[in-house]
Structure formats: C-alpha cells, structure tokens
C-alpha cells in the first residue's frame, strides 16, 4: 500500500493524512484499555494519574500494588482506605464467575457442536429457519432477553439460583459455538466419514477418531467464545442473580455505580490480560484449523 513514486504533492498530503487518521482511530480503539493499567498501580484511591506517577524520575512512592492486595481479600491496614473498605466480594465473584462460566461452557459446547454437525449435513431440512432460531439469543438485545427470562424463570422458581443463571448463560453462549463450529465444518471432507464407516467404524467412533480431531480447533474456539460470553455477561446476572450468585461483572457494575474504587481497575486489568490471552489462543487455533483443513492462510 505504499505511495507510488509518481504521486503528486496533493496525493502525498492526502495519503499522509489518511495514515494519520487511521493511527488516531487505532489509538482510539486501544488506548482506553491500556490507560487503566498504570492507574491500577497507583497509591491514590482516586482513578487518576497522580503527580507522582507522571514525575521524572519515577517516584516509587506513587506506585503500589495495594489495590491488588485489596482485590484478593488482604485486609492489612496499609491496604484499605477510608473510601475503599476491605471486602471478599471480588474473590467470591471470581469463584462464581469461573464456576458458572465453566459449567455453561461445557453444556453450550456439547449442545452447540452436536447441532453444528447436524446443520452441516447436506440433508438438513428447514436449515435457514432452524439456524435463525438457534442464533436468536445472540441477536435479541440482552435487556429484552433478561426481562423475558426474569418473568418466565420467576414462574418456575429459577430466579436467584445458580441453575437459572447457568441455563440463561448456556442459551446466550450456544450461538457462538454453533457459528464457530459450523464455519470449521465448511469444507470438511465428508469422504473421510464415509471412509471411516466403510472400514467398519460406528458413528460414535467415527466422531471421536475422525471428525473431532479435525474440527477440534473450531470446537475449542467456540468454547472460548462461550466462556467469555458467560464470563463477561452482566445484564442477565443483574436481574436473575442474588448476592449468592455474585459474579465479577455484577460486582464491577455495583462498584461503578456506588463506590468508584481503584480495585475495579485492578480487576479490569486482569480481564484485559485474560482477553489478550483468549484472543491469542483463538487466533492460533484459527490458523491451525485452516492448516488442518488445507485452506491456505489468508
């Protein structure tokens, strides 16, 4: 995309303006996420860059990990402040988030993979309609889903229970699994299944020995999507979860609403790192999957 050597000065100006504009947009996309990381290491209980943090040479007094210690439930005197009390809620939220997220992921991945296998068969009847129903939880705004589920689950006594929250999260997460695994199955060579079957393998054996190893990267990506969907979900838990089902997003929501505390930024930093990790994993898996299926890398 370099500028041709015969470009006129006007074209050059345009071109450099264009590059500058794109840089600004990239900055706009990414800067807020990274701005919070240094602030989370501040000594001050306010979510700002303090004088000491900006001073040169750096002032070690201005930096600390006290809010991280607060986050993991350490209640020493130097950790709490008048505005930031010590609480075990963050750790409780983390445990709950992983508990709900992992169970929801397992169920969503199993159901979603099965459905994707069915949808990819050439004989599938009413494919368009079924696909539309299956991915509808992803499309309907969360606040509508939350309202509907709250009314309905209240009737069958599932609000304020883990079961209710997990069921809701599975419903929200399966579309991601279905879409990812279906995409992996595009271009899947069905002759391999026929070969396995003609050699005498039963359907289960064919799945585990032939299909699954080939589409495993897709399944894992789908599972990661499902996990992050459940892990980050806040609207459903706001209405359907009691204090017993406190998750990280629910606690962050409460934190932003009531007591703005730097501990939120510590958790946010952890979540940014988690998302970097997940993004990298999914990218690696995507490339591997394309290699496995013999599609040339983009």
């Amino acid at each position: 995309m370099a500028l041709p050597s015969y470009a006129s000065p006007v074209q050059r100006t345009y071109y450099y303006f264009y590059l500058f504009f794109c840089t600004v947009v990239f900055f706009f996309l990414i800067a807020p996420l990274f701005a919070i990381i240094p602030i989370s290491f501040s000594v001050s209980p306010f979510m700002v860059f303090t004088e000491g943090m900006l001073a040169w040479p750096p002032d070690p007094e201005a930096w600390s990990i006290r809010w991280y210690r607060n986050m993991i439930g350490d209640c020493s005197a130097d950790v709490v402040s008048s505005t930031v009390p010590c609480s075990t809620k963050w750790m409780k939220g983390t445990v709950n988030s992983f508990y709900i997220g992992i169970i929801a992921t397992v169920i969503a991945t199993a159901l979603g993979t099965l459905a994707a296998l069915g949808l990819s068969r050439p004989h599938m009847p009413y494919k368009g309609l079924i696909m539309a129903i299956l991915i509808s939880p992803m499309i309907v705004p969360l606040i509508i889903t939350a309202a509907g589920m709250f009314f309905f689950y209240a009737r069958i006594n599932l609000v304020y229970t883990f079961t209710g929250v997990i069921l809701a999260h599975v419903a929200l997460a399966t579309p991601f699994v279905v879409i990812t695994v279906t995409a992996t199955l595009v271009g899947f060579d069905m002759n391999m299944v026929k070969a396995a079957q003609s050699l005498g393998a039963k359907p289960m054996r064919t799945f585990f020995k032939v299909i699954m190893p080939l589409i495993l990267p897709g399944i894992i990506s789908g599972a990661l999507f499902a996990f992050i969907t459940s892990f980050d979900e806040v609207v459903i838990v706001m209405f359907m979860a009691s204090i017993d089902q406190l998750t990280i997003p629910k606690q962050m929501w409460a934190g932003i609403r009531q007591e703005i505390s730097p501990v939120i930024l510590c958790m946010a930093t952890c979540l940014v790192l988690l998302s970097i990790f997940l993004l990298t994993t999914v990218e690696v898996l995507r490339r591997r999957s394309e290699k496995l299926r013999g599609i040339k890398a983009r």
């Binding site: 947009v25 990414i30 919070i36 700002v48 949808l119 606040i143 509508i144 009314f151 309905f152 946010a268």
Partner: protein
C-alpha cells in the same frame, strides 16, 4: 457376449425397488441430521423462545385485575356515561362485596395496576376497604351502597376515577403499548396523549434513534479508512493491526465502559492532557461523561469493530486493479474512488451500518453507566420498570416494541447479507 438388459424396475439385493430404498435412506439421513440439532433446538426453545413469548403475552395481559373485580367490571360495562354522571348502584354494590371478601394479596396486586391507570387509586381503595370491613363486622347492610362509598370518601363522587376503569375491563388490553408511546385512554376509551408531566417515552425513543444514528455515522467515518487500510496492507502487517480491532471486541463491556469513565471524567486522562497542553484552564475542565457526549464516545468505540469487520471482509476481495484501471482511463483519484471503489463497498457499508444500528438501539449497560440523566436510552426504562416500579406490563410492552423494531432491521440485514453469514473475527 451380450448383456441382457432388464426392462423391469431396478431392485436392491433385498428385492425392494431401488427408488424406494433410496427414498428411505434419504429420510433416515434427514432424521439423523435433525436428531443432532434437536437437543439444542429444544433447549433454546425452553430457555429462550418461551421466555420471550411469555413476555409478549404479558405485554397485553390484564387478567389479574379482572379476576379480582369480575362483577364490578361486568356491572361497569352497563354504565351509560352520557346519561348518568356516576355509575349505577350495582357497580358500587359489587365493589363493596369484592373489596370486603377479596384476597388481600390479590387486591394489593390489582391496586398497583389501578395506580398505573390513575394515581390515587391505591390510597383511596385502602382507606375505603378499612371502612367497609368495619361496616361488615357490625353486620349492617347499607341502604345505598353509593352513598356509603361517598360518605367514606368524597372522591367516590369524582367520575374521573371511574373513567380510568375503562382501560382495565378487558382480559387483553393494548394499554401498555399506548403507555409506552405516551398515550392513554380517555373516558370514552379513545386514545389520547398522556398528561404533560407523564410524557417521557417518546422523548427516549427519539433519543435512542438519534444516538444510534449518530453512533452508526461515527463508526462509518472512523471505520471506513481503517478497514481500507487493513484490506490493502500486506497480510503480515494487517494481521498484526487486526489485533487492535479484535482486542476491544474480546474485552468485557464493563471494562471498556470503566475505561471511558476514567478517560473522560473531569479529572480524567483527557482533561488532564488538555490542561497540560494549555488548551483549557484548570477550572475549565470539560464535562464529557455522564451526559450524551459520553454515551456517544463510548458507544462508538465499543461498536466500531462491528463496522470494521464486515467492511474489511468486503474490501479485501475488491481487486486493486480496478482503481488503477479507472485512473488509467483518465479518472481523477476522487472520481475513481467515488465511481469505482465506493459502489463496490456498499454491501459492507450496509452490513456494518445495520449491525451497529441494531446493536446500538438495544444498548443498555454503557448508556446507563456513562449516560447520566440525559444520555439514557430505552433499555434503561425497561430495566427500571423491571426492577424498580415492577410495572411488568409496561416493561414487556417497551421490550416488545424494541424487539419488533429489531426484527425489521434484522429482516433487512438478512435480505442484504444473510443472517447465517455472520462471522466472528
């Protein structure tokens, strides 16, 4: 040797006609495919489709109050409002007994419903019920039920209270939908505007559309050049830069919203930089969050990847030679861009635009947190009625209208892009 050609039907080894056998195999294959999808379909139906359907039913449901005051409502329908100023004696009589003998909890629920129709009902009925119970305890039988009511509280002689029954006397009612559009029923059951101070939904609907359109336009302006750059760079670089687009996509919504509060608040990062640069003075810090500006900035950043990704996938397959060919034929770069390149990106623009718009009108978390008072969208009202006022009928009606609008746009999206072409990353 000559091969004998059979004129008879082709048979399988079992002796069944081949056609029939193939059809059977086909049917079995269909069934197998369906059985694989069935568990998820059933699951989504029970955990998701039924709740949404339940919500839609609830938005027109008015049966609870009808089960509490069945006789009163029956008699009420006989009232000729043109002839008599107040309802006939029978209405008062039925109400007397239904209040005296009714289940306290059910009446309580019905009162909440009546208060939506006209504020003041709750306290009036509560006071009246107390008095009625005293009368019943004494074992007296009133001569005129109408006079008894009016003696208890003179508001019972005010016909406007009685007029508000109009919107409740049917099991199914469209009143919540009209409420969601700032309308109500008058004494004759005609649709009229609400009182000035109760009109707030039309304003919010309009703001929701305005914010969504602005966000879509901003996303297009910011996303188009970026998608173009990504599509035209060598893969090595574009894959790297793609991380900038995908990372926000993978990061928790709350983290991004928190980040924007930190950036935009009065002593936040951006104000700090502006003061340091000397653009504004220390007391002239700009309020950029907890208002509509904050909502616009945060939502644009959050929804930008949904614009860039469809644009990118369309632009990547536009051959670079087209622009060169146009310029070779004498078109100026601007003309070549407008007449050759831009028309080819229309599918991407419409896909991205629709996606961003549809996501924006349903947004709730970000406007609620950074929107302050004047930046809230319709989602906030749904949450408010769901959690705070417990006016679930209105909540469901607002949700149903929003859902209807979304479905129209998704139908458009499906026409243009195809809903099963959604890709992630």
């Amino acid at each position: 040797m000559e091969v004998p050609i059979s004129t008879a039907e082709l048979l399988t080894t079992d002796g069944i006609p081949l056609k029939q056998s193939l059809r059977k195999a086909e049917r079995r294959n269909k069934l197998r495919a369906f059985l694989l999808v069935f568990p998820l379909l059933l699951f989504i139906f029970v955990t998701f489709v039924m709740p949404i359907g339940d919500m839609l039913l609830r938005s027109v449901d008015d049966s609870q109050i009808n089960s509490v005051f069945p006789n009163t409502f029956d008699e009420y329908k006989n009232w000729d409002k043109g002839a008599d100023e107040l309802p006939p004696e029978e209405v008062y009589k039925s109400l007397f007994f239904e209040l005296a003998n009714g289940d306290k909890r059910q009446i309580g629920k019905a009162l909440t419903r009546m208060n939506y129709a006209k504020s003041g009902w709750k306290s009036l009925i509560k006071k009246t019920t107390r008095e009625i119970k005293k009368i019943v305890k004494k074992g007296e039988e009133p001569v005129s039920y109408k006079d008894t009511f009016i003696n208890i509280n003179k508001l019972w002689a005010d016909p406007t209270y009685w007029y508000s029954f109009n919107q409740m006397v049917k099991d199914r009612s469209s009143i919540y939908y009209w409420n969601a559009l700032d309308r109500t029923f008058d004494e004759d059951g005609d649709v009229v505007l609400q009182d000035e101070k109760r009109r707030m939904y039309i304003k919010t609907w309009l703001r929701t559309f305005k914010v969504s359109i602005y966000v879509t336009i901003f996303c297009l302006i910011l996303g188009f050049p970026v998608a173009h750059l990504l599509a035209n760079l060598p893969l090595r670089y574009s894959n790297l830069l793609m991380i900038f687009v995908l990372l926000p996509f993978w990061t928790s919504l709350l983290v991004r919203t928190t980040a924007w509060i930190v950036m935009l608040q009065q002593n936040g990062v951006i104000n700090g930089i502006l003061v340091w640069l000397g653009v504004i003075s220390d007391d002239g810090r700009i309020q950029m969050v907890y208002n509509e500006v904050g909502t616009l900035i945060a939502m644009t950043q959050i929804l930008l990847p949904f614009m860039i990704l469809p644009l990118y996938s369309v632009m990547r397959v536009i051959p670079k030679s087209h622009m060169r060919a146009a310029q070779n034929l004498g078109a100026k770069p601007v003309t070549a861009f407008l007449r050759v390149y831009l028309p080819q990106t229309i599918p991407g623009i419409s896909a991205g635009g629709l996606l961003v718009f549809v996501l924006a009108i349903g947004y709730f978390i970000t406007p609620e947190l950074v929107g302050g008072k004047d930046g809230k969208l319709i989602g906030s009202w749904i949450a408010y009625h769901l959690k705070t006022t417990l006016n679930w009928g209105l909540c469901a009606a607002l949700g149903a209208i929003l859902l209807g609008i979304m479905l129209i746009f998704y139908w458009l999206y499906n026409k243009i892009v195809g809903i099963d072409n959604i890709k992630l990353g």
